[in-house]
């Protein structure tokens, strides 16, 4: 299978460094072949149509329509990269595309064109080896979905969001939009109105899902918005690790990706959510991700932002119960014409809650990375500990790095720390490596690799082949 892959492994470190952020390896695209494609633009009719096609219950249609009103009323954000944001033409986007009729359980039934795309990315290989379940999102609908039998036996529900709404309406209704209401921001309102696809996971009390659950996302149609909706509920004492990777073919006009991800970690539960995001360089990635962690619960966001034109993503954790813990570990890479505006938000709303944020970013060829974060400590949240570390590397003088952390502390008995550094690759480090016979490019690659190491080491070894390759190519592969 791997022989079909569209790239040759680069031979030298310097080649890798030169390629970082330059060429988009998965810039192929299939001829469009869809069962249903909504017209461009957003109207009440389209929202009704989406709901009708999905045969949704009445409450969901009402929810969508209310969200649509909110979306139309809410102004665009006035912060961040407003220039790029205001370029989005909401009337020139497809809000719903359904590629094939049903969610498939077996690989053989997946339509050929879609299968080719996945084959080229190495999905089946990963599946054969170790995947617990694959929810491959092709366009807006989940087309391929399997769950290992032992998970089903344990009572874990791992479905695409649409199926979950049909099969487990009570659980969905109880939790849906409780973490991120439609009115949270303009883009969560948009998602709430037109959402389609995404993953739904429910882990019963005390169940520890040992193998990471994975979903694979792709955008394919030109100017197509992708609005998946993910909801993960970990019942008391359970554990789940969910991995989401994204890659999209390069197109000339802009695509909009605006997901909503809600995590609910009930008392003592532990959720880890890993994202590798590698949209092509014309995609707007405006995502709302938020988790709530109840008493003794733990939530970790592991977040890699490599592609897209503009990413605005600030995974948030609301620590609502005593001793809850939140971690955000993120990397961002911005190449030419890219702006990675990423960060993290931690809200300490209960005593003895702790949090850790580690953010690493690299800007190259005129790229811009921004860290935008918030640590908020409410009154009476005593014994809070929080540490934020942001490091940025600038590879050339055309690039830019910003750090905008905010700390709001309304309680005395806390320990909050923030540290940030911005620098270029260290002269002394370079000199040391080069004095041992490495070329400057090789030495630089090694330093960059080491810089991202805290992130890469958090990814599970048995990751899908495609994502492994991406990581290797963009960061890890720089050595050897």
């Amino acid at each position: 299978m791997s022989a079909d892959l569209a790239f040759e492994p680069p031979s030298t470190e310097s080649a890798v460094i030169a390629e970082i952020g330059n060429d988009y390896k998965y810039g192929f695209s299939d001829t469009e072949n869809y069962v249903f494609k909504s017209g461009r633009g957003l109207t009440r009719e389209i929202v009704c149509k989406i709901s009708e096609m999905k045969k949704e219950p009445e409450w969901m249609l009402k929810f969508r329509l209310r969200a649509l009103d909110i979306f139309l009323k809410k102004p665009m954000p006035t912060w961040g990269n407003c220039g790029l944001l205001n370029d989005i033409d909401f009337d020139n986007i497809y809000y719903y595309i359904k590629p094939s009729q049903n969610s498939e359980k077996s690989w053989d039934d997946v339509p050929e064109g879609i299968k080719n795309t996945f084959d080229r990315l190495g999905i089946p290989e990963a599946e054969r080896k170790f995947l617990a379940g694959v929810t491959a999102q092709y366009e807006s609908e989940v087309v391929y979905h399997s769950i290992r039998e032992d998970l089903e036996k344990e009572g874990v529900i791992f479905l695409d969001m649409d199926t979950a709404l049909r099969e487990h309406p009570e659980i969905v209704r109880e939790h849906f939009a409780t973490v991120i209401p439609a009115a949270d921001n303009k883009f969560s309102a948009l998602n709430s109105a037109v959402w389609s696809g995404g993953s739904f996971i429910w882990v019963p009390p005390g169940v520890k899902v040992e193998i990471p659950l994975q979903a694979y996302f792709r955008i394919n149609a030109e100017n197509m918005g992708q609005f998946e909706r993910t909801l993960i509920i970990a019942e008391p004492g359970s554990f789940v690790h969910y991995i989401e990777g994204c890659t999209a073919p390069t197109y000339s006009t802009d695509s909009l990706h605006s997901a909503v991800v809600e995590l609910i970690a009930k008392p003592g539960a532990h959720i880890r959510y890993t994202t590798i995001q590698n949209w092509s360089k014309n995609v707007y990635n405006l995502v709302t991700k938020r988790a709530v962690a109840h008493e003794d619960a733990k939530v970790e966001w592991v977040d890699g932002n490599l592609g897209s034109k503009l990413t605005m993503k600030y995974p948030a954790i609301y620590l609502l119960g005593p001793r809850a813990h939140g971690e955000v570990l993120s990397i961002a890479f911005a190449g030419e014409d890219q702006h990675q505006d990423a960060g993290a938000k931690i809200i300490h709303a209960a005593p003895d809650t702790t949090s850790l944020i580690v953010s690493k970013s690299i800007s190259k060829n005129g790229g811009r990375t921004s860290y935008r974060g918030l640590i908020k400590v409410y009154p009476k949240a005593t014994g809070v500990k929080s540490s934020v570390k942001c490091d940025a590397l600038l590879m050339d003088d055309a690039s830019r790095s910003d750090t905008y952390p905010t700390m709001e502390v309304d309680e005395k008995d806390v320990n909050i720390e923030h540290e940030a550094t911005v620098s270029k690759v260290g002269e002394e480090q370079l000199f040391y490596l080069m004095s041992r016979g490495l070329t400057q490019d090789e030495a630089t690659a090694m330093i960059v690799n080491g810089f991202f190491e805290p992130f890469t080491k958090e990814l599970p070894l048995e990751y899908a082949v495609e994502l492994n390759r991406l990581i290797q190519l963009e960061m890890e592969g720089s050595v050897g």
Partner: protein
């Protein structure tokens, strides 16, 4: 002055009145009017603006404030306030003293004869305009236009200052002249914190420091407020805390400081402010560092109702260095907001910012710092540190240290912490027999001392330290 409409801070008559009564030259009148137009057109900031977040600016109605000044009398040189006397005593030797006291309605300025002979100018702004119109024009009006690197436009209160300033001093130090740290210049500005016939009073002060190439300047400025009837004038913090909640803004202080550091000049400035709890102090300190110039600036903020202070350092030319340090001690319901801007417009420049904030009772502090490194400013070193010590159970501290880096060959970092007094340190001291209160006071004093000890002006650190210790103890 009793007609508030004539003298309020948004009346055109006020600007005209100033230019007539002071017999100001045409250039100043034009400059005031231009600024006044812009000032009226600029909308009032609101608490929703990022820079003014959480301040109680919305309650301020500029049309309700009586614009005060200028002071003309030089009489009443006796009866100096307590702050003045203790400072003069602590800083044993000085080369000149500027004293502007609105309580006594008296103003004076002295300068060492040798320095005056060397061409040093140290005068009230009004006098400087009269006696040195060309220099005054250059730094009051033109300096801004010459300043290519000033990207941020004047905000509403800077414009208000340009239009309406009445008090303040002008210091000019010619090339190669030194004003040493052993015999520095001192400046005292004492405002009143009383309402006047039911109206709040607005004091608009403009301070200008010019250090020409290769010169050295040591200057300490003390800004305070006191009400004229109090016997312990200058020690207004003694007002019972019960009154604090009720205190309305009676005084608006608008202070605009500009510091021009010439090539290879060395400027050491110390600012100390201690206002009563009904004073809203808005200040902007803009410093411009020339080629290989060196600025060492320490600010100590020891009280007010609200403080909104912007400290801006612009690295105009190569090789400049600036070290900005601050200590802030808040109590009662005080609200303190500092914005620091380190703008590196030129290569090979270094800037440091250290801000230490200790908050008692339910005081709140918002520190926003930004380091901007322009594309051209290669080999910049910039550091920013903000430490917050929360002493009161309802004290709040926000810290927003920002970096915007467009050059690649730089070393920039920042650190911020928020927390209570370290329990292990307390335990260590209490194990040696100190009470909790004494131990805590010692730790806070030590927390500030690390900043204050860097002050080179003889006697200044000790004096500020004593003021701070007194307030910590209360």
């Amino acid at each position: 002055m009793s007609d508030a409409k004539l003298a309020n801070t948004i009346a055109r008559e006020r600007v005209d009145g100033l230019t007539v009564s002071n017999a100001e030259p045409k250039w100043l009148k034009e400059s005031r009017l231009a600024a006044w137009e812009a000032y009226l057109q600029t909308p009032m900031p609101t608490a929703r603006d990022d820079e003014w977040r959480k301040t109680e600016i919305d309650a301020i109605d500029l049309s309700k404030f009586v614009a005060v000044g200028p002071i003309r009398s030089t009489a009443g040189q006796e009866n100096k306030n307590a702050l003045y006397l203790s400072c003069i005593k602590s800083v044993a030797k000085n080369s000149g003293v500027f004293d502007e006291d609105y309580v006594r309605q008296s103003q004076s300025c002295s300068l060492d004869k040798d320095l005056a002979a060397k061409g040093v100018i140290f005068l009230s702004l009004t006098e400087a305009v009269e006696k040195h119109p060309q220099l005054a024009e250059k730094y009051l009006v033109q300096a801004k236009a010459d300043e290519n690197h000033r990207k941020a436009g004047d905000d509403k209160f800077t414009l208000m200052n340009r239009a309406l300033f009445t008090g303040g001093y002008f210091l000019y130090v010619p090339k190669n002249v030194q004003i040493s740290a052993e015999a520095p210049l001192l400046a005292f500005i004492n405002l009143t914190d009383e309402q006047k016939e039911g109206h709040g009073q607005a004091f608009v002060e403009r301070l200008i420091v010019v250090a020409e190439d290769l010169s050295e300047v040591n200057l300490m400025t003390v800004v305070s407020s006191s009400n004229g009837t109090s016997s312990a004038a200058g020690n207004a913090v003694e007002i019972k805390s019960a009154n604090r909640k009720a205190a309305e803004t009676a005084t608006l202080a608008n202070i605009f400081v500009e510091v021009h550091v010439g090539s290879q000049a060395k400027v050491n400035l110390v600012d100390c402010s201690q206002f009563a709890e009904n004073v809203f102090a808005i200040s902007r300190t803009s410093t411009y560092i020339g080629r290989d110039g060196n600025l060492d600036y320490t600010t100590a903020s020891l009280g007010a109702k609200q403080i909104k202070s912007v400290i801006e350092t612009v690295m105009v030319d190569r090789g400049g260095q600036s070290d900005i340090k601050g200590i802030v001690l808040g109590d009662g319901n005080e609200h303190i907001s500092y914005n620091t801007i380190q703008e590196h417009a030129s290569p090979d420049t270094t800037s440091n910012i250290t801000f230490r904030v200790a908050l008692k009772d339910s005081a709140a502090s918002i520190y926003q710092g930004i380091v901007k490194v322009d594309k051209a400013a290669q080999r910049t070193n910039a550091f920013q540190s903000n430490k917050n010590l929360l002493l009161g159970s309802e004290a709040r501290a926000d810290s927003i240290p920002k970096l915007e880096i467009l050059a690649d060959d730089v070393k920039c970092s920042h650190g911020a912490t928020v927390g209570p007094v370290d329990k292990e340190q307390l335990f260590y001291m209490m194990a040696r027999g100190l009470s909790l209160k004494v131990a805590e006071e010692l730790i806070v004093t030590g927390f500030f001392a690390q900043v204050l000890n860097t002050i080179t002006i003889a006697g200044a650190a000790e004096w500020i330290n004593a003021l701070a210790a007194e307030k910590i103890h209360q």
